[in-house]
Subunit: 345 residues, 2 copies
């Protein structure tokens, strides 16, 4: 079968590799219906991570059809349509039970450490019972793009909002206008935020942010952005900040625009060992939480809103490619010509 | 009257200065019955802060007798015995109303920025109604030392436990065996912690930690301490960490011993702009909260436990001095010959 392999910075190729098969009795093999390219795929694409010599399988978000299951898999069968979170998890360990699936003791992440990737015709899914969620629809459903976001960006935006303690009536800022930030806007509105300020500067993304519920746009950066958010919030800053970038500057901005006692929920993968803003966070009693989103834990809560049309996170996809188009999809996202690329293998 | 002034690193003197008097109608003047020397007073003592040319008034914890009140003060009168939190606050602003008194819009801190200090015969207290808490006892009560800790260390230890999300049945670690860490042990036990691991290495303090409820002692440092805490917690780390030191190494240890989904509550004043451990905190979804404790907000909750003898935080005082003994008290705390020094002017 064909799959996406990244061999180095900017070097994405579609290669022929052996078909996936069941190895552990808890595995499933899934034929990919839809996958996508993630903002976090751009970190290795930019050369900021190391590569194994044989290249790295790419892709960690998918909807697909179960092709085969191991002997211990109980909750699905061949032919089921499933959504696949970006991390696999057994669903039964001490951390899964507390909703912390990305810390599962028997878990891991797709596309790294030798695990299969989803930008491919098919892949092996470990811990199938704990990981995959059987969808109650057909594979040609018009809701497919939105359901696909349950595998990462919608769940991740929701995690940012939850860890930033968004509650009804709160003032919220979203740092970053990528697909996760845009889903963060949806999540903040869904949780009842009164004011949602998006910090971003790309016209197409800002337009979508407004459609999703953003009430204000701040296109300035650094100190000017901080000043602008203060002006918009009576001088105090916001209750909740969703940090959806991961850079030092964006994190410092996030802490600086939170009001005393406020909360930053960060889901942008940090690029540094040291976190900036330790002193203002301390002196203002601002909590910093977040991390890899346990999106598996959130599907039950978010799915009905998608099925019933209350939220449409699938709108973040503004380009669709087949497998041959994946390298160009990376280029388009890297050059910000596309918000998020969907892959139909 | 006489008051403690610090002129530079290690240079603490008792000086004659003008008596305090009412300036604003919301002020009170308080004659100090008991004050103390704080671990945070040792930062300037070690030369890690800058000094105004005229020196700096020291002391921010006190119990005293109200001598005079401004025309707008309603909740106390001359002769009342009051406990004075280390920060003053109006009790009515947007942040005080949410229990964030250390961020009061009209508030401030004793002993800096020209505000009076409590290691003195008397001091002026701004925002008296919002700041001072009238105690229902006489000034010679045997509970005085414990009540004095409501002005800082007991409330601060409680804040660490609250922001570290200590709940009944949780496993807790306390980093630091100073007076705040020891009060953190009391707070963790009070909130129902099942296991309380104290990280410290001073025999006298460890003995007190055990008396307060610590179930385990880890005297190692760095990686060895992390390994030891993991051994004590089934390999996972603790749910809650109370960071009561503020150094880079102690903060990194705190993050490293929290289990996935855990929480660090930090009350040790950070000595660096950058926080270590940003990546492990992120990848394990560990929240980092805390800051200057809104101790005024906690008096209502903690006072009954002291009055009824359920907790005895006053045991952290192991030396009492008069004003002339204050310079020697600083030396004793700096050389770790004393846990915490009480001052009876």
């Amino acid at each position: 079968m064909r799959a996406t392999i990244m061999f180095g910075a900017g070097d994405v190729r579609i290669e022929n590799i052996p078909d996936p098969h069941i190895i552990e009795p808890t595995d499933a093999v899934v034929v990919v219906s839809r996958a996508c390219i993630c903002g976090s795929d751009l970190w290795p694409y930019k050369g900021q991570e190391e590569f194994p010599e044989t290249g790295r399988r790419m892709g960690h978000e998918a909807i697909g059809i179960v092709e085969a299951v191991g002997s211990e898999v109980r909750t699905m069968k061949a032919g089921d349509l499933v959504v696949m979170p970006f991390a696999f998890s057994d669903g039964s360990c001490i951390f899964c039970k507390q909703g912390q699936h990305t810390s599962c003791i028997h878990g891991g992440f797709f596309g790294i450490y030798g695990n299969d990737g989803a930008q491919a015709e098919a892949l092996r899914v470990p811990q199938a019972d704990g990981t995959l969620f059987v969808l109650p629809i057909g594979k040609d459903d018009r809701l497919m793009p939105s359901l696909l976001t349950l595998s990462d960006v919608m769940g991740t935006g929701h995690h940012a909002a939850v860890t930033a303690k968004v509650r009804p009536g709160t003032k919220v800022a979203v740092v970053g206008d990528g697909a996760v930030g845009l889903c963060g806007v949806i999540a903040a509105k869904r949780l009842g935020a009164e004011q949602i300020i998006i910090l971003g500067r790309h016209a197409d993304r800002i337009a979508l942010a407004k459609e999703f519920g953003a009430t204000n746009v701040v296109s300035e950066r650094g100190d000017e952005a901080i000043e602008r958010v203060r002006q918009l919030t009576g001088g105090y800053g916001v209750h909740s900040v969703l940090e959806c970038v991961g850079l030092e500057q964006s994190m410092l901005t996030a802490i600086s625009i939170a009001r005393p006692g406020g909360a930053v929920g960060r889901v942008g993968v940090p690029q540094n060992e040291m976190m900036p803003g330790s002193l203002p966070a301390f002196y203002n009693n601002i909590s910093v939480s977040g991390g890899p989103a346990p999106v598996r834990a959130y599907i039950d809560e978010l799915l009905p809103d998608i099925l019933e049309g209350r939220i449409e996170p699938g709108k973040v996809f503004d380009r669709t490619v087949d497998l041959d188009g994946v390298p160009d999809g990376y280029r388009a996202m890297d050059q910000r010509q596309s918000i998020k690329v969907m892959v139909e293998p």
